[in-house]
């Protein structure tokens, strides 16, 4: 049997597998087409929200407080600054506070690179995706989600995903007006932006494991520290 035949043989097997699985589902359910098919079509088209927890139905200022409280409970650290001008200084003092070298890998996102890093002469910056030797990264976020203190990050040409996972310290700059109530609000934001990004990361606190004797240990494979700098007025 020639290569081409072998290959087309594979294709036939795969499509048979598909049809047999889908046909098997229909057979088990005892029907050819589903009685709730229209409902299913509508569900995909309208993606309605289900029950939303009451805790997220709060005024804007309370939402910020809820976000900070929940993120802190998940072992993230949170610093609050008044304006974007203060961000590089806050990054530098976070590093100093943990005896870390004054060196960060910045996300190529112009929101991050546009900050006044030169104003911190001791702070060394580099831009791009993360490599193994990076000890700290600085990224933005699509949203902060108050209900559980969760950050929502999305990939893009200027937002590499490795920055969220490889460095030991992940610093996230979050304008207060990006703090929303619930996950669904985050999805709405992304839907407004258009095409769903390749990777969407919901991040709640630093990496951890409970795999040894159920004792929680931070810094399993991802960042040991997650530091969120909330910018109260990022206009």
């Amino acid at each position: 049997m020639g290569q081409a035949q072998a290959l087309s043989g594979t294709v036939i097997v795969m499509s048979t597998a598909r049809d047999q699985i889908l046909g098997g589902i229909r057979k088990s359910l005892g029907r050819e087409t589903s009685p709730s098919r229209q409902e299913a079509e509508a569900r995909l088209a309208n993606h309605p929200r289900n029950l939303i927890p009451q805790r997220a139905h709060v005024a804007v200022e309370e939402r910020l407080e809820l976000f900070v409280a929940q993120a802190t409970a998940a072992a993230a650290s949170v610093a609050r600054v008044r304006s974007l001008d203060e961000v590089p200084g806050a990054v530098s003092s976070f590093l100093a506070g943990h005896n870390l070298p004054q060196r960060v890998k910045l996300s190529p996102d112009t929101f991050i690179t546009g900050l006044d890093w030169d104003g911190q002469p001791t702070l060394e910056t580099d831009t791009g995706k993360a490599i193994d030797s990076d000890l700290a990264s600085v990224t933005g976020a699509v949203a902060g989600i108050a209900e559980t203190g969760t950050l929502m990050l999305a990939s893009g040409t200027d937002r590499p995903t490795t920055l969220n996972f490889l460095p030991d310290n992940h610093i996230v700059i979050l304008p207060a007006d990006r703090i929303v109530g619930v996950y669904e609000d985050g999805w709405d934001k992304l839907r407004q932006d258009g095409d769903l990004p390749r990777t969407v990361n919901f991040i709640t606190g630093p990496s951890r494991t409970g795999d040894i004797e159920q004792t929680i240990q931070l810094g399993a494979h991802g960042p040991r520290r997650l530091h969120i700098i909330v910018v109260e007025d990022a206009a």
Partner: protein, 478 residues
């Protein structure tokens, strides 16, 4: 993997005599149960969310063919590839073919029960590849050549001393006199070693908590971040997932995710929840160049429309096993297959066959705790009961048990005779045991008296007591 569930009784007996295992399983109360209770208490809507999660999953299963083909369409639109596998062999072949097409040598893996189910690691090794588990618990048991004993805490059966021994035996490049007694020591050591593996892997394989029909996204939920490094660093990302992981929309995922972590680890939300949609886009600086989803059936479609259909709602949180007195005593290995505990007892007979797994639905006290904590409201005892009936019909239960049951049924259908016999037997037991108040040994009741005394009945049968009670409650006629 080859199921060992037919050895359940034997293996459970061994497990019960394993003091080390008992010590390890003892951590479950503080580690899982207390945390779950505390977190749920903070979310008043939790019970309503369970109802919604159940309903939306039922709706999905009713339309599974539709949602699966929509999922496939979206994955393809985004530049990914879907591979359908009826059997574990087809799934393994699909994975191998992808690995071969990029000449892969090293494969990193995120924790995935479905790849355990299809025995992927052994198969890849036989095919000349090197699969490396990266979840800490999975990594430990891979080094020990063991199987996971819990679906979210694979190494829950081990203590620190066991892990120290394993690391010293395997990480021979490190100082043999290094300290290994704090949890951080192990985490740091594994982190350093696995970092090199992440960087050198050609293919990353993960499972999926959900497949989203609306967007063609696959979702993984982890705490360590290993799943993310597994899928973002290599050239190729392969997702292996079974058909029932499908849900309709992103909004629906939000609902189920609200009950998942709370039920599993008692966290409000897991550290990392990641949605992956296709391969890296033009201009992206990182991410996999290829994105493949292998969709496995392996007997699940045949469970639709049966009494066991509800097991397909399972989101693999582990709450049922965390709260099960039987699992808590024998651990996961005794169950002899990937999914242990109450959900295993309800699911495994449907997937690996009743003949193999008929002992598992009997490994239950029917206390009902599993159904009470299940976030997807799977009626686990009811399904176990269903399998027990099937077991009886197929004559798989022990002959003595069936004879006893037949005898009891014969009497139960003759109430007068039943009462007469019961009165005589209970009366006799009462007289024989009147002095000591208990029996340490009793013919035909060895199964009971081997482990505890049987109290001697002192006040007659239940029916006699009930009759007396009613007489004493009756209004006097004067």
């Amino acid at each position: 993997m080859k199921p060992q569930s037919h050895l359940f009784k034997e293996n459970a007996k061994k497990a019960l005599n394993d003091a080390n295992l008992a010590r390890a399983l003892n951590n479950m109360k503080a580690g899982f149960q207390d945390k779950r209770r505390a977190t749920i208490a903070k979310l008043p809507e939790f019970q309503d969310l369970r109802d919604q999660a159940r309903d939306l999953k039922n709706h999905t299963l009713e339309n599974l063919d539709f949602y699966l083909s929509r999922f496939e369409d979206r994955v393809t639109e985004k530049g990914g590839h879907v591979h359908w596998a009826r059997t574990p062999a087809e799934a393994r072949e699909a994975v191998l073919e992808i690995c071969r097409s990029v000449d892969a040598k090293t494969v990193t893996k995120g924790k995935s029960m479905v790849t355990e189910e299809i025995g992927l690691n052994d198969f890849l090794i036989e095919s000349g590849l090197t699969p490396i588990e990266t979840d800490l618990g999975e990594y430990i048991i891979q080094l020990r050549h063991e199987l996971p004993s819990h679906i979210i805490a694979p190494a829950i059966h081990l203590n620190k001393e066991d892990v120290a021994e394993t690391f010293r035996e395997n990480h021979t490049q490190l100082d043999p006199n290094r300290r290994l007694d704090q949890v951080q020591d192990f985490t740091d050591e594994a982190r350093a070693i696995l970092r090199q593996k992440f960087q050198s892997a050609d293919v990353g394989i993960t499972g999926a908590n959900f497949l989203i029909a609306e967007t063609g996204s696959t979702v993984i939920v982890t705490n360590e971040g290993n799943g993310d490094l597994t899928q973002v660093l290599p050239k190729v990302h392969i997702v292996v997932a079974s058909i029932e992981k499908t849900i309709p929309t992103l909004e629906d995922s939000a609902t189920i995710l609200r009950v998942l972590a709370r039920s599993a680890t008692g966290q409000e939300y897991s550290t990392y929840t990641t949605f992956s949609t296709g391969p890296r886009r033009p201009g992206d600086l990182d991410g996999p160049e290829q994105f493949h989803v292998v969709i496995l059936d392996n007997g699940r479609s045949a469970l639709l429309g049966t009494e066991a259909q509800d097991t397909l709602r399972c989101i693999r949180c582990g709450a049922c096993m965390n709260h099960c007195p039987v699992y808590g005593s024998v651990g996961g290995h005794a169950y002899g297959w990937v999914v242990p505990g109450p959900i295993g007892a309800a699911l495994d007979p449907g997937l690996i066959g009743l003949e193999e797994a008929h002992d598992l639905p009997n490994a239950s006290t029917f206390c009902g705790k599993c159904a009470e904590v299940c976030p997807m409201k799977i009626p686990l005892p009811k399904i176990m009961h269903h399998w027990r009936v099937k077991e009886h019909e197929a004559k798989l239960s022990p002959p003595r048990f069936r004879q006893g049951l037949a005898m009891w049924a014969w009497f139960a259908r003759r109430p007068r005779l039943y009462r007469l016999g019961a009165n005589a037997a209970i009366g006799m037991l009462g007289r024989l045991g009147a002095k000591r108040g208990r029996f340490a040994k009793l013919p035909l009741a060895g199964g009971w008296t081997a482990h505890r005394d049987l109290p001697a009945p002192s006040r007659g049968t239940f029916q006699q007591q009930w009759a007396r009670h009613k007489r004493s409650q009756a209004p006097s006629s004067s």
